[in-house]
Symmetry: C2
């Protein structure tokens, strides 16, 4: 359920469009050791936990050949996040930052992205490391990770 508490000082809330432009299917669930948002790692760099991707059987044939990749991207739906903040004040920063310069779940389309190690493939399920989302998070997509285009070791951040 979206968190409708007030914005903190320095945060900027907008009015979202009245209608959606397209729809997504939840194709599975991510099972993690984190039963609540409070239990999730604050930083995916700390998230060495194993998680299980339980795919809806409807899509199971889509996993063919995935086991020959070492790493995957997971895209998932952060259904507990509010969507109307374009500037946020993360606790670790203490000042406003643009939503698109943050990996916060709070964003107009609350799609989470994680590059994870593929540990094992079972019937209709995957075991992966590292996950940082809450248990039961809806899955949107799985993509193979291609180091040639996805790995940018020299990328700079502030």
């Amino acid at each position: 359920m979206p968190d409708k508490k007030e914005a903190r000082p320095g945060e900027v809330a907008i009015e979202l469009p009245r209608d959606f432009d397209a729809g997504v299917y939840f194709i599975g669930r991510i099972r993690t050791p984190f039963a609540s948002l409070a239990a999730c790692p604050k930083n995916i760099g700390e998230a060495a936990a194993l998680g299980k991707i339980e795919l809806d059987p409807r899509y199971a044939a889509g996993l063919k050949d995935l086991s020959s990749f070492s790493h995957l991207y997971l895209l998932y739906w952060l259904d507990q996040a509010r969507r109307d903040l374009v500037q946020q004040v993360p606790v670790h920063l203490g000042k406003p930052r643009g939503t698109f310069a943050l990996r916060s779940p709070v964003r107009p389309n609350p799609i989470g992205l994680a590059a994870v190690e593929l540990v094992g493939v079972e019937a209709g399920a995957l075991v992966v490391r590292s996950v940082d989302c809450v248990d039961g998070t809806p899955l949107l997509d799985i993509k193979p990770y291609f180091a040639a285009i996805d790995s940018i070791p020299a990328a700079k951040r502030p």
Copy 2:
């Protein structure tokens, strides 16, 4: 408009759920030199083209601080792709592969993902390199690229 042509031999089509589980907003458009799907690079490794991200003014305040990152992820909506194939026969492979082991636009949730270099920030817009999608592709999200978690140079593929 989704491409409703028949599946090729070896491809597997499924019946999609009747209802969507959540909705997305198109928050902008990606302007590229590629006027049609046929004109797009077949491989993002070849895509050195500059593109312009035109953000809906509603979300412009979300770009604050983005210019201190060298690279971004773009998430976008591949609205010309069919969504019902769980196994596909890519021309370069000539045999079926699971959809989740491919970066093809054809997938249950046709969300494209690209790690791009941020070349410049303008009012409500970004200039990026490299893009491979068709001109006018709807934008879903912009995220900063964090080498510490996103860059996996040793990731293996078949």
